[in-house]
């Protein structure tokens, strides 16, 4: 048995939601099907499983890394190459704070963007079946299954009102 990628195309959200229900009833695991849209719909609009993410950990991690690096950079620079000014402390805390702040924020932003891509599962190089009309308003219900379940899946997608069902795979 080989794997297969299928896509049902719908012209309204209600039919797409019906397709998801039909796939559930047909015994497909919700991890194996997805809704594809060209517009961000409200969460749960298709009765889909609301995905969980851990994006908020990324900026926190980045901020800690950035802060640590900036403390090291500013402290070591001033200790290795001291600018002795009228008996004042070698470490200029206020000036260090400015650089620490910027480096902390920079690191937080960079790790957040990495987190966004990671949590969005991008870049996605899977060759699952797709239709360019999705970005023109059609709603796609994509499904991964084995070839022996193709007929069941196709029936579920069509019964929900699919305009077209496409498939690809080995």
């Amino acid at each position: 048995m080989s794997n297969l990628s299928m896509l049902g195309l719908y012209d309204n959200p209600d039919s797409a939601a019906d397709a998801l229900d039909a796939l559930h009833e047909a015994g497909f695991d919700s991890n194996n099907f997805d809704v594809l849209t060209g517009t961000p719909y409200p969460e749960g609009a298709f009765g889909e499983h609301v995905p969980q993410h851990r994006l908020f950990r990324f900026p926190l991690f980045g901020a800690i890394v950035g802060l640590t690096l900036s403390v090291f950079l500013t402290t070591s620079t001033q200790i290795i190459y001291p600018l002795v000014t009228g008996g004042k402390p070698i470490l200029s805390i206020f000036a260090m704070l400015v650089i620490m702040y910027e480096m902390t924020m920079l690191s937080a932003v960079v790790t957040t963007v990495i987190g966004i891509l990671f949590e969005s599962r991008l870049p996605d190089i899977s060759m699952s079946v797709y239709d360019t009309r999705i970005t023109e308003g059609l709603i796609g219900v994509s499904l991964k299954c084995t070839t022996d379940k193709k007929d069941i899946a196709e029936k579920a997608l069509k019964d929900a009102g699919a305009m077209e069902v496409k498939s690809s795979g080995k």
Binding site: Y41, P59, V109, V113
Partner: protein, 457 residues
């Protein structure tokens, strides 16, 4: 009046990608003119590098002139993006949708342009590496972390990196639309840039969360950038008019004033050039003008507070500087022009709804604001240095040379050129935002009136 129209996704695609999938007639002539201006500008910059700063009007005691004024100006313009995109996103202002991309883009290109000016101002830009990079081991010179001139590139570098990433993340869904609408090499490029975006609920959820999270992270950077630029001046006790504790918030609010005005100017051009009347509507100009009235008035308050605080100490040199700035020719002309163009004329117009809804009036008044804001920076920077002081053995007035004027004009052509170049390949109005607006907006009947209704999760 209900200005919003119900549009299909297909229609949104074809209208908002009209500059990407086809080339408007005006595009190449305009790019040609801008391209010539850019080439002239770069040639002048190279000429200046070859001959040295002697070809500028800079001389003792005025060493900071047109270049630093224009640097502060472009950093100010860059505050448009985050003000519009981040604050309005966090507050879920519905009217932000058509504006965010253009504002973020203006941030990126104006920051890039701003960075040129300190480099040029240094005269020998390659030596700037000694200030910024800890590499000159042989001479034991490392960057001085106590210098605001070192803080500047750190802050601007952070802001530029953050803004560029912010712009890219929000662009991904639109890149997927372009991928689906193009063929050949273009399709290949958009496919790579879209990173395999499919538009599943997880990706959309992350896109929304990313917008809010990055906005929240960019806001503190936004405040810090112009604060740090202001400290280039404020931590210099030797120059009257610079050494002020109010400079950080004063610069930030001034930057927001000029930045948001620049976004409005850009929106007018976008509406006229690409005919995006369904997306950039008078109601958007109305909302932005109301915001600008508040921002401009706060900025005017800071302008006078700065003046009052400087006079309050009754310090003779400080009073002499203010006399120079406000009453002495030719500074008095600049001062009056700056007040008229920066506040009195534009805000006077924006008080009337008819003006706020008139695109041409909004275009010219926001241009005036930026004329005024440039003059404000010039008035802050130059008179403090130009004033004759005791023990100064040479003293000359400062008049910018043609080289400086050409380079300043180049910066405007350069930003416009980059914006138009971007607009040829990427959409200036976020398509997914326009589509989301259609999904989340509906109409409700109240009595005999039909009013728009926005749904929020």
């Amino acid at each position: 009046m209900q200005q919003r129209r119900i549009l299909s996704e297909k229609q949104i695609n074809s209208e908002l990608l009209n500059g990407n999938l086809a080339t408007p007639k005006w595009y190449f002539p305009v790019m040609g003119v801008l391209g010539i201006a850019v080439v002239i500008g770069f040639s002048t910059i190279l000429y200046m590098f070859n001959r040295g700063l002697g070809v500028t009007g800079l001389a003792r005691p005025v060493y900071w002139g047109l270049f630093i004024t224009t640097f502060v100006f472009w950093v100010g313009i860059s505050h448009a993006g985050i003000m519009i995109s981040a604050i309005l996103r966090l507050t879920q202002a519905e009217w932000r949708r058509p504006v965010t991309r253009a504002a973020e883009l203006l941030t990126v290109f104006s920051l890039l342009t701003a960075l040129f000016f300190p480099l040029m101002h240094a005269g020998r830009p390659w030596r700037i590496a000694y200030w910024l990079l800890p590499y000159d081991f042989a001479r034991g010179i490392w960057p001085n972390v106590r210098s605001p001139l070192f803080w500047d590139p750190i802050a601007i570098g952070t802001y530029l990196t953050g803004s560029t990433l912010f712009l890219f993340v929000a662009l991904i869904p639109d890149l997927a639309i372009l991928r689906d609408r193009t063929t050949g090499i273009k399709k290949g490029v958009y496919t790579v840039l879209a990173l395999g975006w499919r538009g599943n609920p997880r990706q959309w959820q992350l896109q929304v969360v990313a917008g809010i999270l990055l906005s929240a992270l960019m806001l503190p950077i936004f405040v810090s950038v112009h604060s740090i630029v202001s400290w280039d001046f404020a931590v210099t006790p030797a120059v009257e008019g610079w050494h002020s504790t109010i400079f950080a918030p004063y610069f930030v609010i001034g930057a927001v004033h000029s930045g948001v005005s620049a976004v409005v100017t850009m929106m007018c051009l976008m509406r006229w050039l690409w005919k995006w009347n369904n997306y950039i509507r008078p109601e958007h100009f109305d909302a932005l003008a109301r915001l600008l009235i508040v921002v401009a008035t706060a900025w005017l308050g800071f302008t006078f507070l700065e003046l009052i605080f400087s006079l309050y100490g009754r310090d003779a040199p400080e009073i002499a500087l203010r006399e120079l700035q406000i009453f002495t020719w030719p500074w008095n002309l600049i001062f009056i022009t700056f007040l008229l163009t920066g506040y009195i004329i534009p805000v006077g117009c924006w008080l009337f709804k008819r003006c706020r809804n008139n695109i041409a009036v909004m275009f010219w008044t926001t241009i005036l604001v930026n004329v005024g804001m440039w003059l404000e920076r010039f008035l802050i920077i130059v008179p403090g240095l130009a004033r004759k002081q005791i023990f100064v053995y040479t003293w000359e007035g400062y008049w910018p040379s043609p080289v400086e004027w050409i380079i300043m004009a180049w910066s405007f052509a350069w930003v416009s050129f980059l914006m138009l170049l971007f607009a040829r390949f990427f959409p200036l109005v976020p398509l997914f935002e326009a589509k989301e607006s259609q999904v989340f907006t509906t109409e409700m009947k109240v009595g005999r009136a039909t009013v728009p209704m926005v749904i929020r999760e």
